[in-house]
């Protein structure tokens, strides 16, 4: 398959990635079964993660690696998990992408990598104080389209 990112886009992302601080683990979940966007999503994250040595991609099959998928609450493909990587320790922050992060979602994906790399939400003190005290699970699903 030809490259999905052209050289200009690569260069723009490299500039953003210069500010990455700490290592990030990206987990890709796909399947060998019918999946319209799995191979394209995998290729996209491979191209992106090649642009910084702070990004560490692992590739998984949701059926083969079912325990891992379950651990990360992944039940759709393609799915991406953006987590912290400290040494060998992977820390989940609950940051997920379901479906290919292209179009408008592409910048959201790049932003998520920068967010996790910075290990800081950037939110106001008031918001942080409230969120830290939440003791029941919250699921935020933000629907978007590529165009």
């Amino acid at each position: 398959m030809p490259e999905l990112l052209n050289e200009q886009t690569r260069e723009e992302i490299r500039q953003v990635f210069k500010n990455l601080k700490e290592p990030v683990r990206i987990l890709f979940f796909g399947t060998q079964e019918q999946c319209d966007y799995c191979s394209e999503t995998r290729q996209l994250v491979e191209e992106v993660s090649a642009l910084s040595d702070k990004l560490n991609l692992t590739v998984h099959d949701i059926q083969v690696d079912d325990l891992l998928a379950h651990k990360f609450n992944v039940d759709r493909v393609p799915s991406l998990v953006v987590a912290s990587l400290d040494g060998q320790q992977v820390s989940d922050h609950g940051i997920r992408f379901s479906g290919i992060p292209s179009g408008q979602e592409f910048s959201a994906f790049i932003n998520a990598l920068a967010l996790v790399s910075g290990r800081d939400s950037g939110l106001s003190q008031q918001t942080r104080a409230f969120l830290k005290n939440i003791d029941t699970p919250i699921l935020l699903q933000v629907f978007a389209t590529p165009t």
Partner: protein
């Protein structure tokens, strides 16, 4: 989208999922998603249509927790 991911950073109990609506049409239809962005909280307990500022998302989460 960035905002929901920022919220998730603050608490391991908060999960923020960017869903590509055209790939997961059934899920989008189940939550009556017509325009985007559309945020669904706790599988339909509440909804936010359109992009919203930090204070609004926080307020909606607070409201959802009070409903529970």
């Amino acid at each position: 989208m960035a905002l929901a991911h920022q919220f998730a950073m603050e608490n391991p109990l908060i999960q923020a999922e960017a869903v590509e609506a055209t790939e997961f049409r059934e899920l989008a239809a189940r939550h009556f998603v017509s325009g985007v962005p559309h945020t669904v909280i706790n599988d339909g307990k509440s909804h936010l249509v359109g992009a919203v500022p930090e204070a609004n998302l926080l307020a909606e989460i607070q409201r959802t927790l009070e409903l529970a």
